[in-house]
Point group: C2
Chain length 237, copies 2
């Protein structure tokens, strides 16, 4: 069995800096965590906030702190630091090898899509608040066994709202269901979800858009772990 994760990410049109931050860290007891933060507004200010929240969550997770406590710590830190005036959404996706589970933590009104090995599409949309604004905010956590055939799709609201101003946003659970039924891999799903969102925004996204797809698949490449990253370099201004 192996876990494959693919992320695709783009900034709001005409801004160099995305207000979305995606970080990844190894869990000291085994496994890996992904943290996706969408800072309020866009551009440099949003980047600073999302960096702050992501950094705090990652630092906690890297020290072995459990996901719920890491999310609470990120909230408390932002709340104390910015006096409750700035918000950010926070999603943590963890592959926990200790418990052999996926831990999905949401501080985000935006839902998470979970497709079970049986093909059931669950929309994790229990009411959830962003971090930073309300006192004692805590995450909504869903924990499921690591089972072959599971797919998880986590995204920022830029994906949800793409095309909305023209009244034609995607029906994300239906799109994801179709992709899973056709056997798409995580890389292809993430790239295509982003491509469709950009198309709905006519190539000029009105918000930062990030999407993460995680799949639990049969073992294909033995004991080798791998990582690939692609980052465009902005032209000299």
């Amino acid at each position: 069995m192996e876990v494959v994760v693919a992320v695709a990410k783009v900034s709001k049109w005409a801004t160099h800096e995305s207000g979305d931050t995606l970080e990844m860290v190894e869990r000291p007891r085994g496994g890996i965590s992904f943290v996706l933060v969408d800072g309020q507004r866009s551009g440099r200010a949003a980047k600073a906030v999302s960096n702050l929240v992501a950094r705090k969550a990652i630092a906690e997770l890297a020290e072995g702190v459990r996901d719920g406590a890491a999310a609470r710590a990120a909230h408390d830190y932002l709340h104390a630091y910015k006096g409750g005036k700035v918000s950010a959404t926070l999603n943590i996706v963890s592959v926990d090898l200790g418990t052999r589970t996926l831990v999905l933590s949401r501080n985000n009104p935006c839902p998470v899509i979970l497709v079970t090995p049986e093909g059931e599409v669950r929309l994790l949309d229990e009411p959830s608040s962003p971090v930073g604004v309300y006192p004692w905010t805590k995450p909504v956590i869903t924990e499921v066994d690591l089972r072959e055939g599971t797919t998880v799709v986590v995204y920022t609201d830029g994906l949800l709202h793409a095309g909305e101003h023209r009244g034609e946003p995607m029906d994300l659970p239906a799109v994801v269901r179709g992709m899973v039924e056709e056997g798409w891999d995580a890389r292809r799903m993430a790239d295509e979800l982003l491509r469709r969102a950009l198309e709905l925004e006519r190539g000029r996204p009105r918000d930062d858009i990030s999407v993460l797809v995680l799949q639990v698949t049969p073992d294909e490449d033995g004991e080798v772990r791998s990582l690939s990253v692609r980052m465009p370099i902005p032209r000299v201004p």
Copy 2:
């Protein structure tokens, strides 16, 4: 112009936990850093040490601390924490969008290979000490402009020594030169370097092996950033 990074990593034969840790973090002023740490010995003890060193370096880089200071901090922390009795190698590879340079920081006797856009293969092998043991250890830093056609290969000594007990290790600079001349991409290079190392070790590596390949290439995919991760899940013991 874009930067593409590929990492491949495997544990010593019959150990679940690699003593090598690879972490990645966004730089708050723009860009990305990769930290590769090889903890002394292998298995759980080595993992704990490499996690500690990587975590410290990543925390510093995430706060905007310059690479040389982050490497010094990681050394000082390990040296103070373990009383100078435990060592680890530390490589930091940074894409700095502020200075538009690649910053290659070594605390590792193991060299780094840099191929320039003109095809010159430079072996960065200036004497360099691991962190943790000697007082006031500092990194050897090489900084080069971000130029299309540049390739960097960073690895732990597991790659260097693969096959050595049979007297047939790879001539890494020559192998890398050949791959670059044939126009291989980063992913293919990293996978093939690891594959050859495993072959030289007859599939049973006597040490953890990690290899990171970074290439600066023409822009192929617009403004989209992407990340792919693959992680095998160990069988239930």
